[in-house]
Symmetry: D2
């Protein structure tokens, strides 16, 4: 069985997903759409697919699934529209910046028994999967503490930050999802601290650039997240999981596997400095997992519920910073 | 000038300090005392020093300094007694488990213009000093976030834990001191989470075995501390300091610098599993620094004030866990 | 300009090159041929290319270049045949196991002014290129000594070894090429030692499984090569270049970037254990370099001369083992 | 039982051994001698021992053992003199630069049933011992190939080099000893290449500064040694042993266990740059092993025979370079 795709939105992340579809056996890119004709044309030229508009894709009998790569504020509407049209939907995170809007959207998805996958590509990174496999194989015993270090090389433009929902909803949300995945138990409490240390302009639009979060589960497991918008040495993405019988870590990706030694010491290159190169394999594996789930009817690996729960943790972190206290997740999601 | 020492208390840590004194040029071990004659005798035999009682040491004209290695609940009384007797005092941490008692003790020290050094040996570890030197040399720009990982191989006996003041006052206190040292700015706020994950017996005596702490300074710098009483791979002591221009880390000490490669992968030995072997060089450097300060009248490097401030952070952490909120250090130390 | 390819031989390495051609912009796979119809069909199905026979490819006006992936004893004949037919030729190493036959073949190539690239994919490995770039950028000063560690996970079947020309012509030949590339000066002398340590069956067919080689250039630069047919921890491919101002190394590729810590120590996964996965990126880059050279008429990066010189070093190594002396390359190639 | 020592020669290495004796329980430094009174005085002051002349030490009834740290050309004579006087002798390598002279000296030692230990401190390095223990525990199966990388930070003064016997007798001799120790089988054949690459002045006095050696045993095991007199990044001392079931390596010692990350990459400090700091623990362990052997009458761990065999390998290497051929050890030592 081949899953026939349309990509909605041909910007940077849309191109990533179009490339991913082209590389996955069993997936076929049929159409692309974008408000900017040139963007759509570029994808069509590269992959030999058609350009169609939203309504055509909605009505198309030769399209099984859509990948939503449009601006965030359109995600929930498009999800609803396309699940109603009977398409399987892959939506880039987040579903929406509002917990209530996400909840409403998921109700629609459930009502029509729609298929929805939310794009948390880190779960599909080969190294992180190897780490998870080690945990699942019992190599570290019971998980006790998860430590996530997640640092961007540089902040996005202020214009982006203004509309991003803030560092917790935009950046930490990936870490919240990874923490949930690795803890294998829902966090019930969130403590967070956040500051503006790298650029006062970020503070002027009401956001933070440096943050630490502690998540706690009902049984007392803890996860910490360390974020900054500026790491001079590249895109820093580390995981450490400590358990009753050992620990397992996932290391960063360097620009090359070489080391120079001289009178100044031993120097290895900086890290890959872009999330797309860092997670290139993860983006392809993510689409492959979506295709596999559609092909055999197995459960979608990262669901709308996952999107909702990560967003709720972000919401709790925002509140924790503002109110200087531990916030129960149940205050956000009854 | 030679500094002539008596060691008060000939238990495990007293022996460490006696060895350190013997290895430091300019330091001379004159006497030892202990409630257990055999313990004192062992130190006397090893180092060729005399056995005296407390009163003799107090009155001795051939002793310039004492090292207090007796049980914690005697520290403050002995500090007061020996500074009044005109001796320079080196006291193992903590001065006391009560903030108020420490404050009273420091008043006595100040009144008699006494010399008091509190034993935070980590500041004297050669690797940590190299890390601090890199920061002071401007290698990472402005310090933004400090990440401390501090895990014991195994919990001490329950009897010890019961009298220890709890994980924050007993174990984390070293990390609080290191955080203050590396932030170069006082933390003003403490958030902490703590659980019992390794041994229910620890919970039964009212303590925790797993904890995460976030410290924040007035300018927004943050430090995190990750503690557990059980790390199967040894004594895990890592520091990472992230700054505006880079990061610097200090690595663990393995049991040997070898690596085995076979079909199971590449394996290096576990870490040193005892704080005394891990910090052997630090203990010697600490006494050397005390001797150097006495010899040339320069400031004592780790003072009673340092002991007080680390204890106040521990107190704040205890309160944060209990009250599930960020606790201002000013609530503890007006 | 698009370079239109035929792949001659659809075995394992032929498939690698077919995949590489498919992934390189500016390259088009037009046809494949193989004595085994099923093998050719598999490639044709995967890449949507035609199946033709040798004569059709030779005569085709829609084919610009061929990739020779047939058995070694056919290489020289096919090179001659296809350069005469006006095709650009990419030939997997070696051109032939006989130095004299290679020399004759290259004369034919030269006479018709043919284009010939010999497949030494290691020069195109991204990490090795980064290492070479560091050298070319002057990071280690003048190159003095090159150290190559090149170990296979396991020996090929005895039937393969019997026809391989022996370890130096089959396995070390890659290292000879890398040594020449990194020394930037021709070796003039070869010393080699070889033993049978992993499997007596290898000795029975007159070959060795463990070898060390020292190459020396006229100016005294040295390169060493360490080979074994059995490394339990995977495919071990390391380079170290020592220069007047520093050293640079290239590291191995592990199966995953994770590390497990427990009471047994710190364990990272074994290495990739197959040359095709280890050098996947190199194979693609190699074809891209061939296409680029054809497209703009720039020099072929790894030529028949490179193939000849590496083979001559192998020949000298064979003689050095037999005669227990340093063998001058001029004894092989006047 | 206490072993009472005199140190003959109070230069740099004499001081190292005096310090070692002082640190070893069961060893007592009774006397020191040196042609330079100030040198002897410095040791006497530091350790509270007497200054005596050679004849007094020879005749002393309160001295059990001597450590010979005088210039190389006096070693053999002093060994003979002191074993005849009934003293146990520890002699810094080499016994002599002449194989014949060493053989004569060992005959004298044997005739009087003297105790002689030759100083190959590397065998006592804790990391190298851990590596050897892994081999002896069967962790890598049968040893097949030993790879030694041994690079000095900088060449000694030309005046020293002139009298040193050349790089193989002066520097490589340590590696020859380590190779023998790790192979657990005597090398029977030596191939060597040597060049002058770092300083023409070294060539002018007839020596080399860069060398590679291949040793082969009767069963086909191989060891390689890579030497240079100039490594800008410090004192580079690595061991790798490859066996039928795995490999084991020993790593270098850095100046500090820290790592700096910034836009230039990840940088760790250079290596310790002096053999005395690198091997400080080995020197102490070596004397402790000597004392232990004397105390319980167990075999001396590194004997005159070890000194002779390492020297013979050096002699063979010299000849191999000169004659451009593999040299049988039996040509040197019938």
């Amino acid at each position: 069985m081949t899953v026939r795709f349309a990509v909605l939105g041909a910007g940077r992340i849309g191109q990533v997903h179009a490339d991913a579809i082209a590389s996955v056996p069993g997936a076929l890119l049929v159409a692309v759409t974008d408000a900017m004709p040139a963007a759509a044309q570029a994808v069509a030229d590269k992959h030999g697919c058609e350009i169609r508009d939203m309504a055509q894709i909605e009505a198309a009998s030769d399209i099984d699934a859509v990948v939503i790569c449009t601006p965030t504020d359109t995600h929930a509407d498009l999800i609803e529209r396309f699940v109603k049209a009977g398409k399987a939907v892959f939506c880039e995170k987040p579903v929406d910046l509002s917990v209530a809007r996400v909840q409403d959207c998921l109700k629609v998805v459930n009502r029509v028994d729609g298929k929805l996958m939310v794009g948390f590509q880190r779960r599909f990174d080969p190294d992180f999967r190897a780490l998870k496999a080690a945990i699942d194989d019992g190599k570290i015993g019971d998980v006790e503490m998860v430590t996530l270090t997640s640092r961007d090389p540089a902040a996005p433009p202020i214009g982006y930050i203004e509309r991003s929902g803030g560092i917790f909803r935009d950046m930490t949300i990936h870490d919240f999802d990874v923490a949930r995945w690795l803890l294998s138990e829902e966090p019930v409490s969130v403590m967070a601290a956040a500051s503006v240390l790298t650029d006062p302009a970020i503070g002027k639009v009401g956001d933070f650039d440096s943050a630490n979060v502690i998540l706690t589960t009902a049984s007392g497991k803890q996860a910490t997240i360390n974020n900054t918008r500026r790491a001079t040495y590249g895109y820093d993405q580390r995981i450490e999981v400590h358990g009753s019988e050992g620990s397992v870590t996932a290391e960063n990706h360097r620009q090359a596997r070489i080391e120079l030694a001289n009178a100044d010491g031993y120097t290895r290159p900086p890290l890959l400095d872009f999330f797309m190169s860092r997670y290139a394999a993860a983006y392809a594996a993510e689409i492959a997992a979506f295709v596999a789930a559609l092909a055999d009817g197995s459960p979608i690996p990262t669901t709308g519920e996952d999107g909702l729960r990560a967003l709720a943790l972000a919401e709790a972190a925002v509140r924790s910073v503002a109110e200087r206290r531990a916030v129960a997740v149940s205050e956000i999601l009854e």
